[in-house]
């Protein structure tokens, strides 16, 4: 076993916050090492130090035994380290081939790009991933899963010695995940060193040789996967026992809070349902089934074309998110980065944006003391890890951002809360905190619509599950009669009908 990359005693701090403390980490040739840890544990920071995006404050980094110090991402790339990013870093307006060779286009002596080579190579690397994508397709027109495969192909085409994969399977379906695993298998055989970051513990055990666990900036465990089990791994990650992943509390549903009648909106063909105060209604469905669209239609972001919405018995017209907020609806988007939080702004401004009216008098003056007090209350209640009320959002971890995103809609004191994929990209510990939060809100009498692609989560937390497919409701299950297979059948039901029709 040869160590390709060794890190020893790496420290990193942002301002006064120490993100990494004396971290040791080794990547070996021909082995896949999983890097596990909760959001905010320091995984991304560690990877950014390896890829030259951040500089370490202290410690050593050796590549094949030789001390290295990368000051740019380019240097680490040239040294044979490639990274597959969790967020897609592709330019949507460029073709697939252009994206794969961006910044390292093959040129002839005159500086002209050798397009034929780009085309050939692109076909080759996509072929390795069993993708039949034309190299000249505009990247933005591909599905998210396909784009993720392009991202992977780009990393492969660099023929790096070390490949870091940051949640590569998050956007992939089972079939593509399997393809990726086969490729990883092949790369391992070729003696490459692979780092695999994932929240999906099952994948870690299925695919990795070693596992390293970061917790609060400390490397608390590194060793072969065979010597640890799932419970042990979780224990290392959260530093305590996780008794029950889905802490369900039975509901005491009250009156009908929301009544949706024959709602038609972009992506929603004809949906009717009722939801009660103090109830969590889960919405299952495939990607593109129309759940997000339904949520946005109820909130007013995609105004309904026909049909009616009643809240607490009152017919309500919702033509904009502003109407939604005033009608007492909170909407937590699935896309926190683009739609949820202003990344460059502070925690306080983000948290109070929706509910600013609560601190504003008739002349538009903001009572900043009241605002600070309320924002601080939410930060504490949600145990958001931050070094201050004005910390910039982009410096928070994904899980903490998600808590802020939920808190933000609660500041406006909604009666109905729409949660769209509230735990996507959130680690085990933070997930459970969010579930507990949902329970508390339910107990307070909120009517919660939970839109989720995570089936165990839906079945674990919801009081009732509705299934959407192709813009229609295709199934309805009480909590105790919900079973995964029956739900799955409903998720594809509308598709059949659409094909026939």
């Amino acid at each position: 076993m040869t160590a390709l990359l060794e890190l020893e005693g790496v420290d990193k701090a942002f301002g006064t916050v120490r993100v990494l403390r004396g971290v040791d980490f080794t990547v070996q040739a021909g082995r896949v090492v999983a890097l596990a840890g909760e959001n905010g544990a320091g995984k991304s920071t560690l990877m950014k130090i390896i890829t030259g995006i951040y500089h370490r404050d202290a410690g050593e980094m050796r590549l094949r035994g030789k001390e290295v110090q990368f000051t740019t991402a380019r240097q680490s790339m040239d040294a044979g380290i490639a990274m597959i990013h969790q967020e897609l870093n592709l330019l949507p307006a460029l073709s697939v081939g252009e994206n794969i060779f961006l910044g390292r286009e093959p040129v002839d002596r005159m500086g002209r790009i050798r397009w034929s080579e780009i085309e050939r190579e692109t076909r080759h690397w996509l072929g390795t991933l069993q993708q039949q994508i034309d190299p000249w397709t505009e990247t933005g027109k591909l599905s998210i899963a396909q784009q993720q495969m392009v991202e992977i192909a780009r990393a492969l085409s660099m023929q790096a010695e070390i490949i870091i994969m940051d949640e590569p399977t998050d956007a992939l379906t089972d079939i593509e995940t399997q393809i990726l695993f086969d490729v990883v298998e092949k790369l391992r055989g070729e003696g490459k060193g692979l780092v695999f970051i994932s929240h999906r513990l099952g994948e870690i055990f299925r695919m990795c040789d070693d596992v390293a666990v970061l917790r609060d900036g400390n490397m608390v465990h590194q060793g072969p996967v065979s010597e640890i089990d799932e419970d042990g791994l979780i224990r290392h990650m959260v530093g305590r026992e996780l008794s029950d992943q889905y802490p369900y509390v039975p509901a005491e549903p009250a009156d009908i809070r929301l009544k949706v009648d024959h709602l038609v909106a972009p992506g929603v063909r004809d949906v009717s349902f009722e939801a009660r105060a103090g109830e969590v209604v889960g919405f299952a469905g495939l990607v593109g089934a129309g759940r997000t669209e339904l949520g946005k239609a109820i909130y007013g972001a995609n105004p309904a074309q026909s049909g009616s919405i009643e809240i607490d018995g009152q017919p309500t017209q919702l033509r904009s998110p502003r109407d939604g907020v005033s009608a007492g609806i909170g909407y937590v988007t699935e896309d926190r980065k683009l739609e949820g939080l202003i990344q460059a702004h502070g925690l306080r401004q983000n948290l109070s944006l929706s509910g600013l009216f609560r601190f504003t008098n008739t002349t538009g003056h903001i009572d900043k003391r009241a605002e600070r007090a309320e924002v601080t209350r939410y930060i504490n209640a949600f145990s958001v890890k931050t070094h201050g009320i004005d910390a910039v959002i982009s410096q928070l971890s994904g899980g903490n951002q998600q808590k802020v995103s939920i808190a933000k809609s609660l500041v406006a004191q909604p009666r109905i809360l729409i949660l769209d994929e509230p735990t996507r990209g959130v680690d085990v510990g933070a997930k459970r905190e969010i579930y507990q939060l949902i329970n508390e809100l339910k107990a307070e009498g909120l009517c919660i619509l939970l839109l989720s692609s995570d089936m165990p989560e839906l079945m674990g937390i919801s009081d009732r599950i509705l299934v959407m497919s192709n813009g229609l409701l295709t199934g309805s299950f009480a909590r105790d009669e919900a079973d995964q297979e029956a739900i799955m059948r409903c998720t594809v039901a509308g598709l059949e009908e659409a094909r026939v029709g």
Binding site: P321, R322, L356, T363, I366
Partner: protein, 315 residues
């Protein structure tokens, strides 16, 4: 905040102090009360326009029409004064016209989704044409009625030794500062520039805020037009040409990001002062007006690079 952070946050201010120190070493006439008041008076017009520009740029927009609106407002105001319109009526009408013109480009930006650069470029061209039609290409004198004398005071008068334009600019600054820092509207301006989609989904009426922002810029340009016309006792059809550039420069010198969402109105005031001091210093040093342009450009470049570097290193 530590000392390093304080300096990093206030690069424009230190730039201004440094500039003033350097000029005062060169010329003993610079740091006199008279000259400083003179600089303030000369700066007030650009400062007022730049304040409106700050609102626009904070929403990630830009307003190229300010110079044309200034000229049109000045022309309308001069012709009203010339026919003995009561002062308050003339002033309010002029400012309302400025706001309406600003709102016109705001409408194009907010409701038709046209990029601010294009929308206000169109407004700049068309309003300038309007000025030429209205004035027939000739200056309009404010006339000989008594009201013209009171009108002059707005541009050329003094209250307790302080030039009236400086007092107007100071009041405008206080109002703008309050609105941006302590009101819901101000918060929304920042939010829209930070991420328009997030703001919309949070329930902000984005179109309405934008409309008011461009109207504010138009109204402040009209106010600047009033001051300029009052001081000259006439409206020039070519007034305000290229003023948008000085205003944008002041905003950028003040550390406000052209990408929107980040910046401070205090910075804009300092930025305008830097430009004012620079103009004054170059005159005192007897630099040819041809070279002045080059020097001004160089200083702006220097300031923006220094600010950008300090912000990058703080990450």
């Amino acid at each position: 905040m530590n000392a390093k952070g304080f300096i990093r946050e206030n690069i424009p201010l230190f730039g201004l102090i440094l500039l003033m120190a350097a000029v005062s070493l060169y010329s003993p006439n610079f740091l006199t009360v008279d000259n400083l008041l003179n600089i303030l008076r000369q700066t007030s017009i650009n400062a007022i326009i730049a304040m409106g520009m700050t609102f626009v740029i904070l929403t990630a927009g830009i307003d190229l029409s300010v110079g044309s609106i200034l000229a049109f407002a000045g022309a309308v105001c001069a012709s009203m004064i010339a026919v003995d319109t009561p002062l308050i009526v003339a002033l309010l009408t002029t400012i309302a016209i400025g706001a309406a013109l600003g709102m016109a480009s705001g409408t194009i930006v907010a409701f038709f989704g046209v990029q601010a650069f294009i929308a206000t470029l169109v407004a700049m061209t068309m309003v300038r044409g309007l000025v030429l039609v209205y004035t027939d290409g000739r200056p309009i004198s404010t006339g000989d009625f008594d009201v013209a004398n009171s009108f002059y005071e707005i541009g050329g008068g003094y209250v307790a030794e302080i030039p009236v334009p400086v007092i107007i600019a100071a009041l405008a600054f206080l109002i703008c500062w309050y609105v941006l820092n302590h009101t819901q509207f101000g918060r929304y301006v920042y939010a829209i520039g930070g991420n328009e989609q997030v703001a919309r989904l949070a329930g902000v009426n984005v179109a309405r805020v934008k409309l008011i922002v461009y109207a504010t810029s138009g109204a402040l340009s009209a106010l600047a037009g009033i001051i300029l016309t009052a001081r000259l006792e006439s409206a020039q059809p070519t007034a305000g040409m290229a003023y948008e550039l000085d205003a944008i420069a002041a905003v950028v010198l003040g550390g406000t990001s052209l990408a929107g969402g980040r910046g401070r109105i205090t910075g804009t005031l300092i930025g305008a002062l830097i430009i004012g001091v620079l103009n004054n210093a170059l005159n005192i040093m007897d630099v040819s007006s041809y070279y002045q342009q080059i020097a001004k450009g160089a200083v702006i470049l220097l300031a923006v690079v220094a600010d950008g570097r300090s912000k990058a290193s703080s990450r």
